[in-house]
C-alpha cells in the first residue's frame, strides 16, 4: 500500500515545540463487512515513533479505535527552529512509513 506523505507541521515558541501530524491510513477496524457480507480484515497503525534530531521523543501503541487518517498532536521541549522531527508509523500488516519536517 503506498500512501501520500504525512503532513507534519512543527513549530517552536518559547521553548515548546508543537508537532501536528496527519497520516494517511485506512485504519480498518476489522469489524466492517463488505457488500457480500465478508469481513474486511483489520489494517491499522499499531506503532508510532517520533524523534527529534534522531532522539526518541514519543512512541505510541495504537488500537483499532484510532480514527482513519490519524491526526496526532504532541508537544516537547528542548528543540530549536531548524531542528528535524521525524515520525514513523508501522501497521499490523508490516507496512511502515517515515516522514520528516523541519521545526519552524
Amino acid at each position: 500500500m503506498s500512501t501520500r506523505p504525512m503532513r507534519i507541521r512543527a513549530t517552536e515558541e518559547a521553548g515548546l515545540t508543537t508537532v501536528r501530524v496527519l497520516m494517511e491510513h485506512p485504519m480498518e477496524t476489522g469489524v466492517r463487512r463488505n457488500a457480500d457480507g465478508a469481513p474486511i480484515p483489520s489494517h491499522y497503525i499499531t506503532l508510532v515513533e517520533a524523534t527529534h534530531n534522531g532522539r526518541a521523543v514519543l512512541s505510541a501503541q495504537w488500537g483499532t479505535a484510532v480514527a482513519q487518517n490519524p491526526l496526532l498532536t504532541f508537544r516537547f521541549r528542548g528543540a530549536a527552529k531548524g531542528d528535524r522531527v521525524a515520525v514513523r508509523w508501522t501497521d499490523n500488516r508490516g507496512g511502515t512509513r517515515t516522514d520528516e519536517a523541519v521545526i519552524a
Binding site: 521523543v57 505510541a60 498532536t73 528542548g78
Partner: protein, 136 residues
C-alpha cells in the same frame, strides 16, 4: 515469535498482542489491570472531548496533565469493544499533552490515565455519540 506463529503454536493475533498489554481487553477494568492497576482520580489531568459527537468515527480527544514525571499516557473508551485504544510513552522533555482523533462505538466515558512518577492517575470525560463509529 515468528517461528511460533509458523508452527501454529501461537496465532498471529496472539503474537501481535504480545508486548501490547491491555489492547486485547474487552472491559475497562481488564484494560486498567493490564496497564498496571486501578488509577487514582486526579483533577490535574484534563480530558477534552466534545460533549456531543455527531460522528462517532471521528471524535477529537485531548489529554493534558500538570502532574510531574509523566512517562506514559493512556486513552480508553469505556464502552468500546476494546476500551484501551492508545498508549503513549513520553521521553523526558515531552509534555503530557496529546491530541488524537478516535472512534467511539456509542456514548461513553473517555478515560485518560497517566503514569506520574510511577503511579497511575486518571480523569474522565463523558461524550455522547449520535452516530456510532465502529462501522456496521
Amino acid at each position: 515469535m515468528a517461528s511460533l506463529v509458523a508452527l501454529g503454536i501461537v496465532t498471529a493475533q496472539q503474537a501481535h498482542a504480545a508486548g501490547r498489554p491491555g489492547f486485547e481487553a474487552r472491559t475497562l477494568q481488564d484494560a486498567l489491570r493490564a496497564v498496571g492497576g486501578v488509577p487514582a482520580p486526579s483533577n490535574q489531568i484534563r480530558v477534552t472531548s466534545p460533549d456531543i459527537a455527531e460522528n462517532g468515527a471521528l471524535v477529537p480527544v485531548g489529554v493534558s496533565s500538570i502532574l510531574p514525571g509523566v512517562t506514559e499516557l493512556f486513552i480508553l473508551v469505556e464502552h468500546n469493544p476494546f476500551p484501551l485504544l492508545a498508549a503513549f510513552t513520553l521521553a523526558p522533555g515531552t509534555e503530557p499533552d496529546v491530541q488524537i482523533r478516535i472512534r467511539m462505538g456509542q456514548s461513553s466515558n473517555i478515560v485518560a490515565v497517566v503514569r506520574s512518577n510511577g503511579q497511575l492517575f486518571s480523569a474522565t470525560k463523558s461524550t455522547r455519540v449520535t452516530l456510532g463509529g465502529c462501522g456496521a
